[in-house]
């Protein structure tokens, strides 16, 4: 039972289709609270689709359909009890391409919070400082909060996207290859932020950079052709994988 309590997200026999094409095949994966789960796998393995199914972003594309269950704290997220709006407030996502919204840095951070009805200026100020600090961005930007978010560099915009999600105080943060377009220094900023953040959040990190998973993830899952091939402690996956394909992929011999 005590083990059960630490499971934040639990997917059971999850199948996902786009029109007739089956993208995810019978995914059973438990995601532990206050840990970073790294998801690795070659392009087209379904890792991004899996990530986006966790806060129902796939629904924005036409033709998507799922079977099976995704439980968040034991509640089925595709069940009508939990509406998609509150789900997305609890499960935030940072996309591969850093996209600041076309408004000031300040407004970018409080965008989601304002939607939830918080209007008090002092409270909003506090949220902005807290979120930007957690994304390691406050010192750089505290004097330029009225600058348009679009004027920031890619690395700054990506951290701004992270701050935007943190401002919502979600339970879970999903990250879809958040560093794919970033330089090594911006990447290390993000990684440091994630390690700090897992104290308070459950984090799922999809990455094309296997070394990134090795550096930050507590557990690592390997996806191939829409299937979850293997999941385990990061150390074990990288030193003694059970499956031959996993070994081939992380040693770069995958063809």
């Amino acid at each position: 039972m005590s083990l059960e309590k630490n499971i934040k997200i639990d997917t059971r026999h999850l199948n996902l289709y786009f029109f007739e094409e089956k993208i995810l095949k019978d995914i059973n994966l438990e995601i532990t609270s206050n840990q970073i789960l790294g998801i690795i796998g070659p392009a087209g393995s379904g890792k991004t689709t899996f990530l986006r199914s966790l806060n129902r972003m796939n629904e924005l594309e036409p033709g998507s359909r799922i079977e099976g269950q995704i439980l968040l704290d034991g509640i089925d997220i595709y069940n009508s009890e939990l509406d998609v709006i509150s789900l997305r407030k609890r499960v935030g996502i940072v996309f591969a391409l850093p996209v600041a919204l076309p408004m000031s840095i300040y407004e970018n951070v409080v965008y989601g919070v304002r939607l939830s009805g918080i209007k008090d200026k002092a409270r909003l100020d506090e949220i902005v400082e807290k979120s930007l600090s957690a994304a390691f961005l406050w010192d750089e930007l505290k004097d330029r909060l009225n600058l348009s978010g679009l004027r920031l560099s890619g690395g700054q915009q990506q951290r701004l996207c992270l701050a935007r999600v943190l401002a919502m105080e979600p339970d879970v943060i999903l990250l879809d290859e958040p560093c794919s377009g970033l330089d090594p220094i911006s990447t290390s900023w993000i990684e440091d932020a994630l390690i700090e953040l897992k104290k308070n959040y459950t984090i799922v990190l999809v990455t094309n950079n296997t070394m990134q998973a090795a550096r930050v993830a507590d557990k690592t899952a390997f996806f191939l052709m829409g299937e979850l091939l293997e999941v385990g402690l990061t150390k074990q996956i990288f030193t003694a994988p059970v499956k031959q394909e996993t070994n081939d992929y992380i040693t770069g011999r995958f063809g």
Binding site: N55, M57, L60, I85, S86, L87, R88, K89, G92, I93, F95, L97, V99, L101, P102, M103, Y111, G112, R114, L115, S116, S148, L150, C161, R164, V165, M168
Partner: protein, 283 residues
């Protein structure tokens, strides 16, 4: 058959003649109209309400005021409907449906303006006469008919600018738990603002330049309107109605009226293109 050089030269002549047509029109109106303005006095021409060509009185203030009010009325009718329609079609309608409805709306622009005038006279004016009183052929009738006539301009350009907002903005907003409507009014409309404003300005240009439908539905009395139910004559109507028999000073005064119209429309179009260009730069 043609040499590369020859084709290039031919095309450049054709392109140049299109531009020179515009230049010639401008030149022609100005040459005919400017001497009158200098002779009669710009202030008397623009600000006097006395339009009696037979006595040599050429004050076009009533027409300026009529054109202004009809244009403003057309905006009040056309802009809210046009923008709401564009938002609905761009954000809440399946793409396949939108691709049928948008061309259909654009077809509204291809309906000859005399048809709009005809409907205004036969359907709209009697309704206004019965419901509100007055002659029916009025500023209000002109505003409503023009409001409908500018819908294709407003809707079509607004839809294009809404669809030009990057999908990643919408996705980012929805991912933060925004509803579609919250995303539209907090994000999409702001991002598409310059295109929407430009669509309204171009609609204004269309409204102020429209002639046939306006002549048919506004009653054409030369007077400064006291209410929306009064009969009015716009600048365009004034030229079209009197040009056929005007001579001498009278004819020159009508050309000067054309100068005023030309400047207003060039001004509106210039604002619209500045607004549109600004959007491209901030992206």
């Amino acid at each position: 058959m043609f040499s590369e050089k020859g084709v290039e030269r031919l095309l450049s002549v054709i392109a140049f003649s299109a531009i020179s047509a515009l230049a010639l029109i401008a030149l022609f109106i100005f040459i005919e109209g400017i001497p009158f303005l200098l002779k009669y006095g710009i202030k008397d021409f623009l600000l006097s309400s006395d339009w009696r060509p037979e006595s040599g009185k050429f004050g076009i203030y009533p027409m300026i005021s009529a054109s202004f009010w009809v244009m403003l009325g057309a905006m009040l009718v056309g802009a809210p409907f046009g923008i709401a329609g564009a938002i609905f079609l761009a954000e809440f309608t399946p793409k396949t449906v939108m691709h049928i409805i948008k061309p259909a709306i654009e077809l509204l622009a291809a309906v000859p303006s005399v048809i709009y005038g005809f409907i205004g006279v036969v359907v709209l004016a009697p309704i206004i006469r019965e419901v509100f009183g007055g002659p029916g052929l009025s500023l209000l009738a002109g505003a409503i008919i023009l409001g409908i006539m500018i819908l294709p301009t407003v809707i079509s350009i607004s839809i294009d600018s809404i669809l030009a907002v990057p999908a990643s903005f919408r996705e980012g907003s929805l991912a933060l738990g925004a509803t579609i409507w919250q995303t539209v009014h907090m994000l999409t409309i702001k991002a598409a603002k310059s295109g929407i404003i430009a669509s309204i300005i171009l609609g204004m240009g269309r409204a102020i330049g429209e002639t046939m439908a306006v002549i048919m539905v506004t009653g054409n009395a030369v007077m400064i309107p006291n209410s929306a139910l009064d009969s009015v004559r716009t600048l365009t109507a004034n030229i079209a109605l009197e040009m056929s028999y005007a001579t001498g000073m009278h004819r020159e005064a009508l050309f000067a009226t054309g100068v005023v119209l030309f400047i207003v429309i060039i001004f509106l179009n210039a604002i619209a293109s500045v607004v549109i260009r600004k959007k491209v730069i901030t992206k």
